[in-house]
Symmetry: C2
């Protein structure tokens, strides 16, 4: 709106969020103005708290408010199984799926030469160090099934293979609930490549 | 996520925004954490600027950074035509539609006895004062076509009628691009009530 540069600035900053367009950003800013100074103050306080308190876990680079994140600090976790993910949100997805028996290593992104993200920008040196300390029996590479995620997976596997007995990756194939008709070729190709013997006795 | 109360607080506050669910709120918080301290700082700065600088126009209660908003400060506006709207966002919609020749009066809401919003909570006293000063030839009531908006419109009209020659309201009827088949009964009823003689000569 004309004559309100401070409002426009909030709209511009909010529009940068994923999934928030200029219209939603404007609606959010209006909501704050309608709710009054306290609502804006509450959001500012919450953001300041987050900025001050959240840091990176010293061991796995997950988000944490302490030196070690809640997973690395949990003595019941299997430290022999390290799962490599791109972002803390991927870690959360794995945990939600009930796959969290081991520990994690968060890379902090994926290799993306076009965006200037090389190996040095990811937490690969600390992964190598962790593996050199021994004790890891299986490294599960769980990067995203994108071109960049796959390239990152290969890089991680190459780095880890001399140091760990077993380097595995998540299976590629048909997503549950999907229909063959609507799946892309490369998913079908991967599903065919990874086909398994039908076992009627066990459901492993 | 466990062990991150400061993150959860940001998610809770962001979830209160209209159109932002817990999932979008979490995605926004993760985005901030991924972008680093500067991104959060930039949002905090923008919010603080907005909180410090935006106030209510002394005349029409539109959002403003000065004593008078950009509309009230514009000498080319027709001060004989005041359009009453609920919120600054409604004013913006009218302006965008190219209907901004006159000036506005922003009520700051609508009458809603169930939510405890009575006439005293709206900018009605200042509207009455403005009208008593004279000079207003037409008061256009442009509240929303909801039950509460209609009640507010009646209240405003009742207050204004002794003070202004012409109190008008926006027409109710078929929205452009809508289909009769999908319109609700009350819209059709209003469209029938408000029907006009078909004029092939002029398109007024």
């Amino acid at each position: 709106m004309k004559g309100l540069p401070s409002l426009e600035r909030v709209v511009v900053v909010l529009s940068r969020f994923p999934g928030i367009g200029p219209k939603s950003a404007r609606r959010m800013a209006y909501y704050l103005l309608r709710r009054g100074q306290e609502a804006t103050g509450e959001l500012i306080d919450a953001l300041e708290g987050m900025r001050a308190q959240i840091r990176s876990c010293e061991q796995c680079h997950n988000l944490s408010e302490a030196a070690l994140c809640w997973i690395c600090a949990d003595p019941s976790r299997d430290r022999g199984r390290i799962c490599v993910v791109e972002e803390p949100s991927d870690l959360l997805a794995m945990e939600k799926a009930g796959l969290g028996q081991g520990v994690y290593h968060v890379l902090g992104g994926r290799l993306s030469p076009l965006d200037g993200v090389g190996p040095d920008a990811l937490h690969l040196a600390s992964l190598e160090q962790r593996l050199m300390q021994g004790g890891c029996l299986e490294l599960i590479v769980a990067t995203n099934p994108t071109v960049e995620g796959e390239a990152t997976a290969h890089f991680v596997a190459h780095l880890a293979q001399p140091l760990v007995a077993r380097v595995t990756r998540l299976a590629h194939g048909l997503p549950m609930g999907g229909e063959l008709e609507y799946l892309d070729e490369s998913t079908l190709y991967q599903a065919m490549l990874g086909r398994r013997v039908f076992s009627l006795d066990s459901c492993d």
